[in-house]
């Protein structure tokens, strides 16, 4: 039987900060919108995040960070994704990311940014519209 598989999303917390309120709310909202959501928990290294993305075969990675270390950690994550050939995964980010940092992060392939005050349905819509379609035999 051929069926459209559910969008699989990894919500990941890189870095050492522990502000997980937003990440958990987004995880729940995406799940309520019919996606399969894997949440890594706190304090994940770029290596761990990419490893989980491979093992869970996800379509989307949502990175949540509020510690200010995004300019160090995001490039590392994007580099590892490239090395492992995960170039078709949609990567989006949320947390405290100053506007002026966004162009550089877009250049390295992060597609969407959702700062404080974003309604959850906006994130859902963005993911539905931008996730590469995949079909699989189930």
């Amino acid at each position: 039987m051929i069926g459209e598989r559910k969008i699989r999303v990894l919500i990941a917390k890189p870095g050492l900060d522990s502000h997980d309120r937003g990440a958990k709310i987004v995880a729940r909202a995406l799940r309520d919108a019919g996606m399969e959501v894997i949440y890594t928990g706190l304090r994940q290294t770029p290596e761990q995040i990419v490893e989980t993305a491979i093992q869970e075969d996800v379509d989307v990675i949502g990175l949540s960070i509020l510690s200010g270390a995004h300019n160090t950690l995001f490039p590392r994550i994007m580099e590892l994704l490239k090395q492992k050939g995960l170039t078709d995964v949609l990567v989006v980010a949320g947390g405290i990311i100053p506007d002026e940092d966004i162009p550089k992060l877009k250049e390295i392939g992060i597609k969407g940014f959702f700062g404080p005050g974003t309604p959850t349905d906006k994130i859902v819509r963005f993911i539905l519209e931008n996730t590469p379609k995949r079909r699989e035999i189930s």
Partner: protein
């Protein structure tokens, strides 16, 4: 507080009013909502009257300020005597930079310092640990060894200031470093004044900056309380914190109940160790958030004081009234700050700060309006401090004690907050206590559910946040962002590595072995940790020894 006859008359009048006056108004001018609720979901009535507080007894439930049950305040004169302490949290970059900032604040008249540590320090990692990459000095100051602490307090006599340290997992190590600096400056330990947050329980379900599992974590907390009771009489060994519980998503009732339950757990842990309640309870302190719902917050602070006093008296049989004191620090709720139209946050912070003052706090931190975007700029920090000063000197609210006492609404709400918190406390008792509740994921689930509910209400516009889901504009507010130079990380790592080369490494090995032995023997670790930091063993090395003995906590994920 009213006689029966008077209440009966009021009830009759209310019934008449509901039949005559009220319908006319409702028919021509329907109410904005069918049900009004506060953030804890408590329904708010249209109007409150003496009927709502008919069962209250003035002396039993309110009394006079400075007397049990302390609903009206801890001190008889409150802010007529002394204003609350205005204590602003700061720290960034290297120890040198934060030392400069401290000296500036002291010159400006502050006497209370409050240190923000960076994430690697908070997590018990040295600055050169692989997990520390990109985080050194970013969200606070990096302290990896006594060397850094010496620089942090260079030229600042520890008997002239009080220092609050927001530190939990490695609280024992940072306090040991502070004591060691005091020893070097020749300041007697009994003169050291300040606070270590040192509240690990809330870390497991709210702030989640954790190193060791719950039981050894509470053991270390208790070590500090016990050590301070004996040697640091002016130190607040713990600040039992609801702030992070609220920020993680709890509502006001949950914040109140879970914080008090954590307090109960620490008291029990100290009693189990054979300490006498009146020997340590007077030094316990608390920390709450001030959120948006003005009267709910005021009621929460008043209820918190009364409930803690009752718990200490009835549950733990404290005799010294000071053991029944809930001394509190309040910070305006960071979560309520919006990135959109950031200047609006000045108004939010003002209302929140006013609630804290009307609630009778001992100390207050007001957030800066730009903190939803980055670390605060100097201008924003100044406005935050000025907000407190305007409330203190211009508004007149500090001229009398507990001005809202006797308000039918505020007293009803105070009673409701207390009752609902007691229901939770009963429930957690039945569950087997705080650690059992953590292990079951009870707190985590309660908080996650409340956080999600709050977000849904905003998404569905059941709750209006000005500038976010209503009254929004496209206009962007330009802000200057405080950036941490990546050189900070390099410099800090270089200093640390130099220290490791130059110190007496045989001595370090010896103190760390002693620590390992002491940790296995289950004795109070404070003296051994002080010896270790004095030999310049690093924070990471000390934590690693304890990681070996206690294990590392693995997060229980509850979405």
């Amino acid at each position: 507080m009213f006689d029966r006859e008077e209440i009966d008359k009021i009830i009759k009048e209310r019934e008449r009013w509901e039949k005559t006056t009220l319908p006319k108004w409702i028919n021509t001018r329907p109410e904005r909502k069918n049900v009004f609720t506060n953030l804890s979901g408590i329904p708010i009535k249209r109007v409150y009257t003496p009927e709502d507080i008919k069962d209250m007894d003035y002396m039993r439930d309110l009394g006079f300020p400075g007397e049990y049950p302390f609903t009206r305040g801890l001190h008889a004169t409150m802010y007529r005597g002394r204003l609350w302490t205005m204590r602003q949290f700061s720290g960034y970059g290297t120890a040198e930079q934060t030392n400069q900032r401290f000296k500036y604040l002291l010159k400006e008249g502050e006497t209370g310092l409050s240190i923000a540590f960076d994430y690697p320090t908070i997590r018990g990692y040295d600055s050169d640990h692989p997990m520390a990459r990109g985080e050194v000095g970013v969200c606070g100051v990096a302290v990896s060894s006594l060397k850094d602490m010496e620089i942090l307090f260079d030229g600042i006599p520890l008997d002239k200031v009080t220092t609050s340290m927001t530190i939990n997992g490695p609280a024992a190590m940072l306090l040991a470093m502070y004591i060691a600096v005091g020893d070097k400056q020749g300041v007697p330990r009994e003169k050291l004044g300040g606070t270590t947050q040192n509240d690990m329980l809330k870390e497991f379900f709210a702030q989640k900056l954790i190193i060791f599992p719950p039981k050894p974590s509470v053991k270390l907390v208790t070590d500090i309380i016990e050590y301070c009771a004996k040697h640091l009489p002016k130190w607040n060994p713990i600040s039992i914190s609801g702030y992070h519980i609220r920020e993680a998503g709890a509502n006001a009732v949950q914040e109140l109940a879970f914080t008090l339950y954590d307090g109960i757990t620490y008291v029990e842990s100290c009693l189990e160790r054979g300490m006498k309640v009146d020997d340590f309870a007077p030094r316990l302190s608390f920390f709450f958030a001030a959120h948006n719902d003005f009267f709910e917050e005021i009621a929460k602070f008043r209820a918190a004081r009364r409930l803690w006093a009752k718990i200490m008296k009835e549950r733990f049989h404290a005799k010294n009234p000071r053991s029944m004191w809930m001394r509190m620090h309040v910070q305006t709720a960071g979560f309520t700050l919006t990135a959109q139209q950031p200047l609006n946050n000045i108004i939010r912070v003002t209302i929140q700060a006013l609630a804290a003052v009307l609630g009778g706090t001992q100390s207050l931190h007001t957030n800066s309006f730009d903190e939803a975007l980055a670390l605060p700029s100097e201008q924003a920090v100044r406005i935050a401090l000025r907000t407190q000063q305007i409330i203190a000197h211009e508004s007149g609210v500090a001229n009398t004690v507990d001005p809202l006492a006797g308000s039918y609404y505020v007293e009803t709400l105070t009673n409701e907050m207390e009752e609902k918190a007691m229901e939770y406390i009963q429930k957690i008792d039945d569950m087997g206590g705080a650690i059992a509740a953590i292990e079951k994921g009870f707190f985590q689930k309660e908080i996650a559910d409340s956080a999600y509910k709050y977000q849904k209400e905003i998404d569905e516009k059941k709750r209006i946040i000005v500038g976010v889901n209503e009254y929004s504009t496209e206009e962007k507010y330009p802000i200057e962002i405080l950036r941490i130079d990546p050189k900070v990380e390099e410099e800090q790592i270089a200093r640390l590595q130099k220290l490791r080369r130059e110190r007496d490494n045989r001595k370090v090995k010896e103190v760390l072995e002693k620590l390992h032995y002491a940790a296995e023997k289950n004795v109070n670790l404070m003296p051994t940790i002080i010896d270790a930091v004095k030999a310049y063993a690093t924070l990471g090395e000390i934590c690693d020894v304890l990681r070996k003995v206690y294990g590392e906590y693995k997060e229980l994920i509850v979405i």
